[in-house]
Symmetry: C2
């Protein structure tokens, strides 16, 4: 199949540092190429891919210091549009701008929505352009969207090969990995560890916007013999950090549409203790690859029970559900489904 | 002529409080209606106009708490697009989003760029869609744009009738009116007044983003018998505030594409002392409606000389160049010029 992958320009594909969407776009692109498809990747010029790369900005916009990304994305979409006849499928990883420019090509366009959809700001575009086929990254992500949204499929993310290798032994500490931000509830993680009497290692970056929250709410909690704050870690450190843990704590307080760190932990064989919120119940096999909780007390009890979870079963759950190969397969099924409606796919017609 | 006016949705038209673009769009719309044109205004639903209003959001987005305005603007543009056949001219007051969606209708579309154009963020869109006819609000505004930009005209803003009425007497103080922000250089205004030994009244709002600048750089300068900080004032207070002044200080430190406050002061008969920057030399008649300066020393001397400027001549300069009637006339000439090229206007072809 001739597939265009249209990635955000905020970061390179894959990103130098952070950038969940660009990481997933990279894993998907590489896997589709590996499976023999002819893939063209529209992304920043410092991207690295085995697909054909169409450079749509010299480098990722964020690290280039570009603050308003709209113009660069519109210019990229003009390039996609120019070459549209050479693609069977045009797959967007952007939220908004393509709906207007490709409203006459929805029979071969599809958009994966990567972000949260519970902000009213974005709704007008989905109401104004109801024919664009949409893919959610979890069923939970769909909840706030209007009933008219043209959902084609849910495709859970999958991890590229070689990342977060399986560690059959694990270790004795709890892990917290992510940004320090109120929604991720690092304070809950710290309370759980202290009350469970277990070590907690916190690997987290602090964005400028969260500086004040970190200083006033989190830093005072760190001065405790069980708590170790190790700051930001890179991709290479992630595997050992997650693989060496007894369990990952994911005590989120918001409907996270997909928590990549959960499948990274599972890849390493480390079970996840997560709050019942957003996509969590879809991603965790409760009792198999982790434990879903609703309170601090349940989380403390889960920490104790987590030692009994078989790390080989956690890894098997990951391999069955969260590899890039499975993700690419799901996308190909969705693409086929779309192409079998040459007049354009509409969920309402199904 | 059947004219669509497409205004930003950030504020109502006219705006409740701030919003330079929405104010100008309102003055232009009302004047075009007054001259007998059939005008359709695409704007937020709480706008007030004698044109036909197409409500594209329940109320201005900023006061409604919507932070990302992209989706709402795309939905508005879809409405414009739907009705495009009923217009001879579609006149956009947005910077970016319409270029992609109307790239096949540039023979009857025109965009007034209201903002600064010296940020690299926006350039990709003007390079990707080079056929959209553009109108600058000053010649100075054009400088940073690529030579390929399809300029149709420069149209200076004009003020709606009844605002900032002429005050033949003026008063004894210097006035500063605007936001407290480093680019507007309120510190310069204060230094000039102190060294000239004249009273300065500062009518200015402080945005959240400028709080720190205000507290650390400006507030310490206010404790002086010649300086009076009166905070934010509304539209009704603006006329008396400007009309009662000896001169307006406009000591800007950036290439402001058009300083509305300069023509508001001129409307009241008050001369303007302004730094040579951006659009200033186009707007001020040097020695007629104000004095253009390059240094603090020149500004101090200008304060003394400003008493000799004839307020009737300032007002006459305003009436000749900066009324909404003159602005609408210029726009109609530009529209005619566009429509005389049915294949689409290109500056290069002239």
């Amino acid at each position: 199949m001739r597939i265009a992958q249209v990635a955000p320009l905020a970061e390179s594909v894959p990103p130098r540092l952070y950038g969940g969407t660009e990481r997933v776009a990279s894993w998907l692109t590489e896997e589709l190429v590996r499976q023999g498809h002819r893939v063209t990747l529209f992304a920043s010029g410092d991207s690295e891919t085995s697909a054909e790369l169409v450079a749509c900005a010299p480098q990722g916009l964020r690290l280039a210091g570009i603050r308003d990304h709209t113009a660069s994305h519109l210019a990229m979409l003009a390039k996609v549009r120019e070459r549209q006849e050479s693609f069977d499928i045009i797959h967007f990883h952007l939220d908004l701008l393509q709906h207007a420019m490709f409203s006459d090509l929805t029979h071969k366009c599809v958009t994966t929505l990567h972000g949260r959809l519970d902000l009213p700001d974005f709704l007008p575009v989905y109401e104004a352009f109801p024919r664009m086929p949409l893919i959610s990254i979890s069923d939970g992500q769909r909840k706030p969207m209007p009933s008219t949204a043209n959902w084609l499929a849910t495709v859970h993310h999958g991890l590229g090969p070689g990342l977060c290798p399986f560690d059959p032994r694990g270790g004795d500490y709890l892990a917290f990995l992510g940004r320090i931000t109120p929604e991720k509830r690092p304070d809950r993680a710290i309370e759980i560890a202290k009350r469970a009497g277990m070590r907690l290692r916190v690997a987290a970056k602090v964005d400028a916007v969260d500086e004040e929250y970190f200083r006033s709410q989190i830093e005072p909690l760190l001065d405790h013999p069980l708590i170790e704050f190790i700051g930001e870690i890179d991709e290479a450190q992630k595997g050992p950090f997650l693989g060496g843990a007894r369990a990952l704590l994911f005590p989120i307080d918001w409907p996270e549409p997909f928590g990549l760190v959960m499948i990274e932990a599972m890849s390493a064989g480390t079970p996840v203790i997560a709050w019942r919120n957003g996509s969590v119940p879809e991603i965790l096999g409760d009792g198999v690859s982790g434990i879903i909780v609703d309170s601090i007390a349940e989380a403390i009890s889960a920490c104790e029970r987590s030692a009994a979870i078989d790390r080989f079963r956690v890894r098997a759950h990951f391999e069955q559900h969260f590899t890039a190969e499975r993700m690419a397969g799901d996308y190909l099924v969705a693409f086929d489904r779309l192409l079998s409606s040459p007049q354009g796919y509409t969920k309402a017609a199904e």
